[in-house]
Symmetry: C2
Subunit: 796 residues, 2 copies
């Protein structure tokens, strides 16, 4: 089945007719519009689902009253006899899956488009939230198509309310309402109120006279004919007396402007926008992907046909898989109505409220939830900031203060450094840039100066269908040649590996290096900072977890190495040696398949930073969690000893409320076993002796990893949790961020598969590395299609 | 009139009954609940607005069917005869203002509370958005009370849709729906669908049998009696056969938990939260203000009664003016439904979508709007980040690159500094901390090292009813004793002042200082950074605009001073001397009454940073706007020359869409003259000769400033735009951030005025400075009340 996306054609204008309630006159409005449009053009009327007796079906009504015109096509996809909500009417009948229904609609519209139909109406059943055949609310069901809306408002008593509420429900789901029509009722005068209401939103409203009353009871032939005549007269009179043409004109202008906007957006963006992480020289508007909207795992992007083809292209948009999870943030799907409502609720209840010296429920609930559920006994306090970079700025301030205080260092006279791994990346603000070794990212930042020591380290990847530990050439003497493993479970069996020769080698090497740096070079270290398991921006480096674990263990078990201290309190939660910061901004909160990435290492950090997936992929928010002992380092009688950090929107209620909801949703998915089919695949195909209780797994299949690891231009490949990463050989000999080796593969994914089951993937590369990321809601169906694209590109 | 806020009593539980539509059985539900509750307790039923014939009024119905009970009180506040929407029914009648209506409701409930009523229902009319007597939607009208909701769902065909939409409209406005009731209709079965829907949200639903049909047409006495009997039977049967008690129990638990939560929140926050800019030592839960919700300019805060009084206190919440505009962010009111909907629409249309190499409409529209409307001819490109601090990080990276490139400096071997003013503050990330001189804020940040020169400068303030320029003691010789002025218009008449002796002195002093720093000390400067007019966090310092203007002019007209350059392109928009960064994070976008604070100085920056008010006070977002020449400094064939900065949520669609909407709303307010009453007051009372076209004005009255400036413990005072600031003498001799001189005044505002017209203000202090900030929607009514509090505290 095709991935159905937003439906937009250059020459066919489609509107979806929604009613503010049932029985508000949707079909009469449709008939009127079809009649008016068909005077000059070919018009299609589509009723996807009709309930009630066949002779009252809405498509029949339209057909009947446009019978004189050869310009009108009508179609009903599914007809259910009972005049009840489709989810009940369809109960005993063969009913289409939601996706099937969308595909059918899309196909009908496509075929109309190719037949020269210029306008089409797709009429819904009942109100905006009336359930479709599978009980999905129509507003949700039809959302992937995101057709512009004609809303038929309710002219009856109470209709002001139901019309505005229906409008709001549509807005929350990202629809654009293009016009409102309703009957004129001079007693209730809803149209006057609503006209004022909608004109403020630049949405045209047309009120027209009411139809003649419907015959009651059993319809006898005579009265049916009478009724037919009365309706004919009615339609003629409305068309004559009300200015439907100017409404249609305004709707047409909106449709045209929408397409114009899309056509111009890339060029205008090229003019006005300074893009992040982008070399603009040589950049062209065509390099900019226009995202019309997004839903689930997919962007709706503007096709980039050559100008010459534009006029002939059938539809303008394509559904593109968001393969970078929108820079690693996306977890619960684009356009998630539950998150949209959650955000709106917090906005309506608070807006933003100041957070110094105050508390509001979303901030408190989120803080408590994280402290309780991240499984780290040390963490006691939550500090809020806006993004991973600022969260890490707070973390580094916390750690440096704690160590300077304990070791009685004067940071104004001596430089306190950090310990970390080569290839780390903690954000773009200058303070946290200083936490990484000199690299492409920072070398041209005028104020950057790396302050630390960064260990080179062994990495994990699959080659030739086996998991390898690759030891950097320079370290082979100290760390050995590198092992290989049958399964990731073995790689992560740290209890066992700690006792192995490799474990001993890692430990000795780390200790000796530190000893040299501190005692020979006189370095002072104030923190150990690591991204557990995967170093993201540094190039998707899969660190040998044993090395990271040994680093933590060495630091904690050798406090005397770092400074002289007068009996700091020994508690199970107090830091030892150095405060340890885990930057889980990217790796935490299920990105790697688990609630925290620290859990893979089996150690608790003293400070832990989370962002990205925290809000499920909706808005910026970051938390820096700290132990009591870190917090205590800022206590004094002097206000200026406090952590004087805090952004204006600290702990903004919308972010906190969305984050609490998102984290709970992801926990529920974990508890319900929503990822069971992925997990099972890793257990079944795993050939290892299973020694640990928790299996390592990925949304991406182990079989794919194994197959690709044997491809000729693949250096290595891995997958863990939602992350898939593939390193390609660079024939020019370059590697890292400046390599362009992965560009070719990226382009193949972007082109994707065309034809009937068109499918393509937006991805990001980091030099010679192409990575892909699933969301927590990605379906096996979509992922298998991507896997097929990868196989075709690399093995085909 | 009292500022009506959220209504919550310790012993009286109030619910508001909303209907999913008109005629869904609200009054029957109310009657049932009242009957069930009144078996054990005193219950009140309040119908604020009733339309239709008196003998059908809902309060009468409740009264009639609870006649046997002495436990029931009923009341209707306004009765209109026509059975139409209240905004029509009330047209020809005396109708209450919205605020008056809220006050009346609050007063009735208060009096019931003191009479031992334990439960009360407030029944609305029609559907959730049915208009009140002044045409305000009820959901908006009653929002300040934010009563928990009993939603009566619609059991008819189409009722699933209208019920869910009504629920969503309530959520968007920050209401909490506590239970859902509806009739059981076995044909349409809405209750089954809705039960599933609401149980997922932990909202209990009760479906019960339908009432007997109402008599049609004119009611004759006999049938009325019959009807009465039928209804009696009906109520008895429902009470017997449906488990209303357990529903009531669940609602009761929710009410209790709400109060428990509020009572515990401060203690729990004290446990879990690490607050920004807060010394936690000696901090106590009672120092934490619990914000239950917020609306307009007001927080709803938990009263902080001593524990002993808690049991007797009448109501728990008070309406507290948000006097810091929630850390300077708030512009369009808390809980603004339009912004909530805007946020939800973007969330529904996009969620977050990645922004490197892509474009979406909200980001493009906002960028273009800002470029077009900020009135700075130089600015051509918009770079997005998440907050003021990161926006300034990007700005400093931009400026340093541009100057290093033009002057061919190697920043790895020589330190490039910035020029600025003493007391500047640009954010909490370490890079921008380095842009400020050593101070309380940064002196204990281990990695801070100020890299720049910061000019001391003359400040503006009113003393003894006159505007004074205060020259720092150390500079009196160079800059003179300082002038005084009749009006702020004169202070800002820069064309005139530039030519004056003072202007010449400022210019000479700046030039000589720079000459010495550069040519004698060998400093290299890469940027001039300023907050135009007001230096916020540095202590609300009102810089003499003439000094800031001279600084810009000197820098721009002496390019040779800063470095040697091989013929850089001379264009009217190219930077000269140094790239000039205006940090308008706080001062921009109407905070000082104008679209930009740069406009006060009459110069265009090369880089301009905006945040805070950008989203109207809803969510974090920042923009760094730059000139083409700054942008061009990053162009090259080498990717690593690009501005390698970008947060994951860069240009998040929700932020951009809300920002575009907010900026347009504020521009509309400006164009409509919404602040005319404030502006007029400054023109009328101004005694100066008016020399400039644009008057300086403030939301705070000039009369207040003049009066307070004569108070004995006031050092100086000023107001401009929405900002009011007062410096108090510190008797201990301390000044600046560590002074506690303003604490007393802060506490007086927090206590506010009690009694009938209770009113209090939440404010923030910066050492000996107390400042207040209006939102763009603050009413003269509220501001005058605050002015009265200030007068009483300082002059009384």
């Amino acid at each position: 089945m095709t991935a159905v996306g937003a439906a937009l054609w250059r020459k066919l204008r489609v509107h979806q007719v929604y009613g503010a309630n049932t029985d508000v006159g949707k079909t009469i409005v449709s008939t009127l519009l079809v009649k008016a449009l068909s005077e000059r053009r070919k018009v299609g009327f589509l009723k996807p689902i009709s309930t009630g007796p066949l002779d009252e079906a809405d498509d029949r009504h339209v057909k009947q009253f446009t019978a004189g015109s050869t310009n009108v096509l009508t179609k009903c996809l599914y007809q259910f006899g009972e005049p009840v909500s489709p989810h009940l009417a369809a109960q005993s009948r063969q009913r289409p899956e939601d996706n099937e229904l969308l595909s059918s609609i899309y196909d009908v519209l496509s075929s109309w488009s190719s037949k020269g139909v210029e306008n089409a109406l797709v009429e819904t059943a009942g109100g905006v939230h009336s359930p479709g055949p599978n009980a999905t609310s129509q507003a949700d069901l039809y959302r992937p198509l995101r057709l512009p809306i004609v809303l038929v408002a309710d002219s009856r008593l109470g209709g002001i309310s139901s019309s505005i509420s229906a409008f709001e429900s549509l807005l929350i789901r990202g629809y654009d309402v293009q016009s409102v029509l309703l009957f004129q009722d001079d007693y209730y005068q809803n149209h006057k109120y609503l006209d004022l209401y909608f004109s403020k939103k630049d949405i045209p409203l047309l009120a027209f006279s009411k139809p003649p009353p419907r015959p009651m009871g059993n319809v006898i032939p005579d009265s049916q004919a009478e009724n037919q005549e009365a309706m004919e007269d009615y339609y003629s009179s409305v068309l004559k007396n009300f200015d439907i043409d100017s409404l249609l004109k305004r709707m047409e202008v909106k449709c045209e402007r929408r397409i114009e906007d899309l056509d111009q957006m890339a060029a205008r963006a090229h003019e006005a926008i300074w893009y992040p992480f982008t070399q603009h020289q040589g950049m062209d508007p065509k390099d900019i992907t226009v995202i019309e909207s997004a839903y689930g795992d997919h962007f709706q992007t503007l096709k980039t046909s050559p100008d010459a083809d534009k006029k002939n292209e059938s539809h303008l948009l394509q559904s593109t898989f968001d393969g970078s999870a929108s820079w690693w943030t996306q977890g619960l799907g684009h356009g998630n109505p539950e998150l949209a409502l959650t955000a709106a609720h917090a906005a309506g209840k608070y807006g933003h409220v100041m957070f110094a010296g105050t508390v509001h429920k979303p901030a408190l609930s989120l803080a408590e939830l994280l402290l309780q559920s991240l499984g780290n006994q040390r963490l006691r306090k939550v500090f809020y900031t806006d993004n991973g970079s600022t969260g890490m700025e707070a973390a580094i301030k916390m750690a440096l203060r704690a160590s300077c205080l304990r070791y009685d260092w004067d940071s104004s006279t001596e430089e306190i450094k950090v310990l970390g791994l080569k290839g780390s990346y903690h954000g773009d603000t200058i303070g946290v840039m200083d936490c990484s070794e000199p690299s492409t990212y920072n070398k041209k930042v005028e104020w950057y100066r790396g302050r630390g020591h960064w260990f080179d380290f062994p990495t994990i990847g699959m080659k030739g269908a086996q998991w390898h530990v690759t030891v950097p050439d320079m370290l082979v003497q100290e760390l050995g040649e590198g092992e290989h493993f049958e399964s990731l479970n073995e790689v992560f069996d740290l209890d066992k590996r700690l006792r192995s020769l490799t474990g001993q080698r890692y430990t000795r090497f780390i200790k000796e290096t530190l000893d040299k740096l501190i005692n020979k070079h006189g370095f002072k270290f104030g923190a150990l900072i690591m991204e557990p398991v995967i170093l993201g921006a540094g190039g998707m480096l899969f660190a040998d977890p044993l090395f990271q674990r040994c680093l933590v263990d060495v630091v904690r078990s050798n406090p005397d190495l770092f400074g002289y201290t007068l009996g700091s309190m020994e508690t199970p939660t107090n830091w030892s040696g150095l405060p340890i910061i885990f930057d889980e901004v990217f790796t935490g909160l299920y990105r790697l398949g688990r609630r925290t990435s620290a859990s893979f290492l089996g150690v608790d950090a003293d400070i832990s930073v989370h962002a990205k997936l925290l809000t499920g992929g909706l808005i910026p928010l970051a938390v820096t969690l700290a132990s009591k002992e870190i917090f205590d380092a800022f206590l004094s009688c002097d206000k200026s000893d406090a952590l004087l950090h805090g952004h204006s929107y600290t702990a903004h209620p919308i972010g906190c409320h969305v984050a609490e909801t998102s984290v709970r949703m992801m926990m529920d998915m974990e508890n319900r076993g929503d990822w069971g089919s992925f997990q099972k695949l890793w257990q079944m195909t795993s050939t290892s002796r299973e020694t640990t209780g928790h299996h390592i797994w990925s949304h991406w299949s182990l079989q794919l990893i194994q197959d690709l690891s044997c491809a000729k231009n693949v250096e290595s490949v891995f997958a863990i949790g939602s992350v898939f990463s593939i390193s390609l050989y660079d024939e020019t000999g370059q590697s890292g961020y400046t390599s362009t080796a992965a560009k070719g593969l990226q382009q193949k994914l972007a082109r994707g598969q065309s034809g009937l089951s068109q499918f393509n993937v937006h991805s990001r590369v980091l030099g010679n590395v192409l990575y892909l990321m699933a969301s927590m809601k990605s379906t096996p169906h979509d992922l298998i299609r991507i896997e097929t694209l990868l196989r075709n590109a690399l093995l085909g």
